[in-house]
Every structure is written in C-alpha cells, then in structure tokens.
C-alpha cells in the first residue's frame, strides 16, 4: 500500500472544517463559516496535489483503481460541498455532509491506488473527461440523497412539533429543498455531458452503445429529470425527496451490481 501524506493532510483539513461546523452548530448563534470554507479549500488543494502525483505516476487520471476512483469521488464531493456552501450561504448542513467527504477520502486512501497501466484506448482525453464528469455527477447525487434524508427528517420534526436540537440545527425545509434542487440540477447536467463523452468514445472504440452500464446511466438520467419536472409540477417537498432517494438507489445499483455482474468493460480493475 502506498503512503499518501498529501491525501492524509487533506483529510486533516476536512476534519478541521467538520470540527468548526460542529462547534458553530452548538452555539446559539452560528458563525459565518469562512474559516471552515478556507480549511475545505485547503483540503481540496492538497487532495488535488495528491491525485496529481498519482496521475503522473500512472500516466492517466487515477480512475482505474478502486483507491484512485474513490479518492477522485471524495475530491468531487468536497468540490460539490464547497459549491453548495458558497451558493446557498449555508453551513448548517456541514456537520452532516462533510463526514461523507472525510469517510470517502479515507476509504480512497486506504484502498490500493496503483494498478495496471492503462490500455491505449483508455488513455485519451475523451475517456478521462467521461470518467471525471461521471464521478462529479455521482458526487452531486450523493449529496442530493443525504439532503433528501435530512429534508424528510426536518419535515417530520415540523409536522410532529418536535422542536428539539435537530429542529433547531437543521435549516428550513425551503433551504434544504433548494440545495437539493441545485445538487440534482448540477448532477443531471454533468451526467449528461459525461454520457455524451462516453457515448462518443464507446462508438469509436466498441462501435455500439449496448453496455448495461450505459443503459443504467440513462435510466439514472431519466429518474432525476423526472424528479426536476415533478418539482415544478407541484410535488415539491417530501415526494421529491423520496424520489431523489430512489434515484440514488439506481445510482448505487449501477455502481455495484451492474458493475460486478453485468458489465464486462465498466469495471475498476
């Protein structure tokens, strides 16, 4: 196993940001969150440096190994979280979302990074863009999943008049809903781009688009597109949250079962 000092430093930065977010949450008046955002940005830079070192050694974006792809995923999660925090000026969800960044970063660092050399057809820019965008889309969907869970929890607290700690600490339904909308919209747009790159690449290399993974990715696309449509058609709220959870189920299924048993080309080996 390789030792990733930069990667672990990044994890330390994320831990610091999480600690700040929790401290801020416990205060009667939460702070602005700039120190936390700076720590996150520092973590992002360090993790990027680590991934770049790996990429140099491998001669490609490190997505072919389990460690590499999970690390890339973690990095994308951190980007997505920072984007959400800046876009919505909300750090109240930090304590719930940052641990996902930390967890996946650590898993990525503990799994083997170095793998076989990339085959000639997976060396190109097109393929790298396809994988990178796909991973960013999955990061956005992961947050959408967590936000939807938090939405349902807060909705339940409000309905049952449970005005306890969670009620006080979680933002308003409207705010969580908007963050979810942002996550899904970004995820959808990015996944579409990823599929376009992937499609062009597949046609060029395989000559067809029949890989089961592609079918599932298109299904994912449809579920989230339907979700956004529903959101505008008067189903905003718990129903959209439930559908977002279902959408993430599809993502997980395609990432695990489809990868392992159905697709012979879309694997991390």
């Amino acid at each position: 196993m390789e030792w990733h000092p930069l990667g672990w430093l990044a994890v330390l930065c994320y831990l610091g940001a999480e600690a700040l977010a929790i401290v801020s949450m416990r205060r009667p008046r939460p702070s602005t969150g700039w120190p936390g955002a700076l720590l996150l940005a520092g973590g992002l830079a360090l993790q990027f440096a680590d991934l770049r070192l790996e990429a140099r050694a491998l001669g490609s974006v490190p997505y072919r190994t389990l460690g590499g792809s999970v690390s890339l995923f973690a990095w994308m999660l951190a980007i997505a979280y920072l984007g959400l925090q800046i876009r919505h000026r909300q750090q109240a969800l930090g304590p719930f979302l940052i641990p996902i960044v930390i967890g996946s970063s650590m898993i990525g660092l503990l799994l083997p990074f170095r793998g076989s050399a990339p085959t000639p057809e997976t060396r190109g820019t097109l393929f790298a863009l396809h994988v990178t965008f796909a991973i960013l889309a999955y990061a956005a969907f992961t947050f959408s999943f967590v936000l939807s869970l938090l939405y349902l929890i807060q909705n339940r607290q409000i309905r049952r008049r449970k005005t306890g700690v969670l009620f006080a600490r979680l933002p308003a339904l409207e705010v969580i809903g908007q963050m979810n909308r942002t996550s899904v919209s970004v995820g959808l747009a990015v996944l579409t781009v990823a599929l376009l790159f992937g499609g062009v690449w597949a046609l060029r290399v395989w000559g067809d688009l029949t890989d089961p993974k592609i079918v599932w990715a298109v299904l994912t696309l449809l579920v989230y597109a339907f979700l956004l449509w529903m959101d505008r058609r008067g189903w905003e709220g718990p129903r959209v949250a439930l559908l977002s959870i279902l959408g993430f189920g599809v993502v997980l299924f395609s990432y695990t079962v489809v990868n392992l048993y159905f697709s012979h080309t879309h694997t991390f080996r």
Partner: protein, 420 residues
C-alpha cells in the same frame, strides 16, 4: 473618611414573587419618578449611591449606604413618598445585602428571575436603570461597575447558553415553525384573519420577525384598516379572503367565528394555483377558524393553539435545563465583581492602619531626646512592619471575595479605624 468597607450594598424591592400586583402598581416608577426618587434618597443621605430598576414585574432600589442605615429607613422613605402604609410595604418587600444583592441583580439581568424565564427585555431595562441613575448623578464607582457587570453577565448568559433561544409565547412559536418551513419570512405573504386582540398581537409579531407583505382581513374592514396603518400592511375585505389564499404562504386564524372560515376545498384550490408550494396555517382561534381536514393536504402545515401550547411548555422545560449553566456563568462574573470590590477596600484599609500605628508610635516617642528618638523610631517601625506583614499578605491573598470584604470590615472595626 468614607471608604467602601464601611458602606454596604443593599437591594430593597417589590417584585412579582413577593409583592401583589396592587402593591407593585403603586411602587412602579416612570423615568421621571425614578430620578425624583433618587434625588430623595441621596438628599436625605439614605444612600451614597443609588439605582432604581423599575419594570412591569419589579421595582428594586440598589443602594450603597452606611452600615447603620437599615432597610426600614428606605422602606419608610418609599412609604411616605408613594403614600403607602409602611407595614404593607415592609411585609411584601424583598431585601438582599452585599454579595447576595449583587447575585440578585445578576440573576435579574440574565432573565433568571423573570416571569418568562430567560427573557431578554429585562437586560435593556437594567441598562436603562443605570443610564437614568447616571443622569441623576446617583452613581459612582461601586454601583456603576455593579450595573455594567450585571449587563455583561446577562449578555454572556445569552451568548453562551440556550436560555433565550426557545420561544415561549404562542405567536413566537408560530413564527418559529413557519420560519422552519419557509426560511426567511421577509419575502413571504402572511394573511391574518381577524383584527382583534390575538390578530393584532400576531401581526405585530410577524412584522417584528421581518414579514413585509402583511395582509389583514376582518369582517369590519375599518378595523383591519386601522391595524394595517400602524403596521404597514394591506387590509383585505372579508369577501376576498378566498381569492387571497393562493398568494398567502402563512394563514393565521384569529376570528371569533363559530364555524370554520377556511374550508378544505378552498385550500385545495389554492394549492393547485400555487403548484403545491407549501402553505402554513396557524389556528389561534377557539373554536377553530380552519377546517382540521386541511392538515391532510399535501404540503399544508396546520397547527392549533393546543399544539403550540405544548411546544411552549416543552420550551419552558428546555430553558429551565439551561439554568445551571447560566448560574455557573453568573458565579464567575460575581466572583470578578466581588474581587474588584474587595480590592477596592483593602488598600485604604492598609493605609489607615499604618497611619494608626504611626500615631501610636509618635505618641510614645514624644519627650525622648532627638538621637534616641531616631533609634526607637526605627525599632518601632521594624516591629510594626513585621507584625503587619503577615496579616496584610493574607488579606491580600484571600481569594474568596466576600470573605475578604468581611475581614476588611473586621479590621476596621477592631482597630477602630472609622473613628478618625
């Protein structure tokens, strides 16, 4: 000479815990009366410094006065001034001395002694009381520092505990719940049904919470108009309520109507026009203004008075749980103040004591030849210095501030330092 240790800090008051409303009403002071009262207290030499704190729930006099002055004299002053029978006033008064008076004021400032535990209004009233006393020239070092410390202690308690976080009143709980659905209420439309007491109370609350689009509907339109004029809202004719529903994010029922004013179908229609955006209903009316069936509509939130009262009592328990943490903060602040107060009196006491010993020495040296006088003076100084060294060191090192005050007082008494 007058030094701090021969003066004592005293609090005499009538608050809602000890005095009936009838008494409290007659010892409640306006700002002008507070100044008049302070002039009277200082003019008669009853206190050397004074602050009067007068709120809806309490009237309290904080004074620095001579040791021999008693609470009875202060009570008699109030009795004569306000024309109240002395026995009745004495019976229902609360009196605190020294450190206990300081602690009492700190607890008051932090909202721990308030009827609504943890309320913040009293903090401003404490600040106001100091301001009035300063304008009347009634405060010097001790009470000025006391009230500033009390305000600082109160602020710390608010910042470091959750004692003021959970709302206690029905309208503020309603606003809190609505905020947890919509976030910022400033961009939302609030429709209040009824311009009576409850309606105007809620409307005021909503405006304080930042609501800018406030609409009030009332059967008698003129009453709604009178209310919205003060609150910068819009009056809605009673017949147009159904038409207003789709635009309303928050609907509050406060009418005296015996049958529901808002039917389920109306809300369903409104929801369709809103494309399912959430609606928030608060039914503060008894009997209900809003059909209970509304609660089952998708994305509609409905709360009745009972629901909110449950939350209120839960919140009271939550605030009560914060009391020990608040008291711990007050203990720290109390310690700080008392230690300052103690130091204030040790230094003049030591000076007085040294002067006393010098008087005795000089008396003994009188009549001695000049060269012997020098020798004996050095000898006497050496003994006096060694004798005083340990007690003074211990006095200064005493960390329990209230005990230090006691000891300073004891020294002054035993060495008769106050007779000069």
């Amino acid at each position: 000479m007058t030094s701090v240790s021969e003066a004592r800090l005293m609090m005499l008051g009538w608050n809602f815990r000890v005095a009936e409303l009838a008494v409290r009403e007659r010892v409640a002071f306006t700002a002008e009366e507070v100044k008049e009262g302070l002039r009277g207290l200082l003019g008669r030499g009853l206190v050397s410094e004074g602050v009067i704190l007068s709120t809806c729930h309490r009237s309290e006099i904080y004074g620095l006065c001579d040791v021999e002055r008693s609470a009875e004299e202060l009570t008699r002053f109030i009795s004569e001034w306000r024309g109240l029978p002395l026995p009745e006033l004495s019976r229902s008064s609360l009196q605190r001395d020294g450190a206990e008076a300081v602690r009492h004021l700190f607890r008051v400032a932090a909202g721990l002694d308030s009827m609504a535990l943890g309320e913040s209004e009293v903090l401003g009233q404490v600040r106001q009381a100091l301001l009035l006393a300063r304008e009347s020239g009634a405060t010097r070092a001790v009470l000025h520092r006391l009230f500033e410390s009390a305000v600082a202690a109160g602020k710390r308690v608010r910042a470091e505990t959750e004692i003021g976080v959970h709302p206690l009143s029905v309208p503020s709980i309603g606003v809190e719940l609505a905020t947890k659905v919509f976030g910022d209420l400033s961009e939302r439309t609030v429709l209040v049904l009824g311009a009576g007491e409850t309606g105007s109370l809620f409307a005021r609350h909503a405006v304080e919470a930042g609501v800018r689009d406030l609409r009030i509907a009332n059967r008698t339109l003129s009453r709604a108009q009178a209310l919205v004029e003060r609150l910068h809202g819009t009056a809605v004719p009673w017949e147009s309520v159904a038409g207003e529903l789709p635009a309303a994010d928050v609907v509050v029922g406060t009418t005296a109507s015996l049958t529901p004013v808002i039917a389920r179908e109306q809300v369903e229609n409104a929801m369709r026009q809103r494309r399912g955006r959430p609606m928030f209903f608060l039914d503060l009316a008894v009997p209900a203004d809003i059909d209970p069936g509304v609660a089952t509509i998708y994305n509609a939130f409905l709360y009745a008075v009972n629901d909110l009262e449950e939350v209120a009592s839960e919140n009271r328990r939550r605030r009560a749980r914060e009391v020990p943490r608040a008291e711990a903060i007050l203990d720290e602040e109390l310690e700080k103040y008392l230690s300052w107060f103690g130091n204030l009196s040790v230094v003049p006491t030591v000076t007085d004591l040294r002067r006393r010993l010098e008087q005795i020495r000089d008396g003994e040296l009188e009549g001695l030849p000049a060269e012997e006088r020098e020798r004996f003076r050095a000898f006497a100084d050496s003994i006096a210095g060694k004798l005083l060294h340990e007690p003074m060191r211990r006095l200064k090192a005493e960390r329990d501030a209230s005990r230090k005050l006691d000891r300073v007082e004891a020294i002054r008494h035993l060495f008769d330092l106050d007779e000069e």
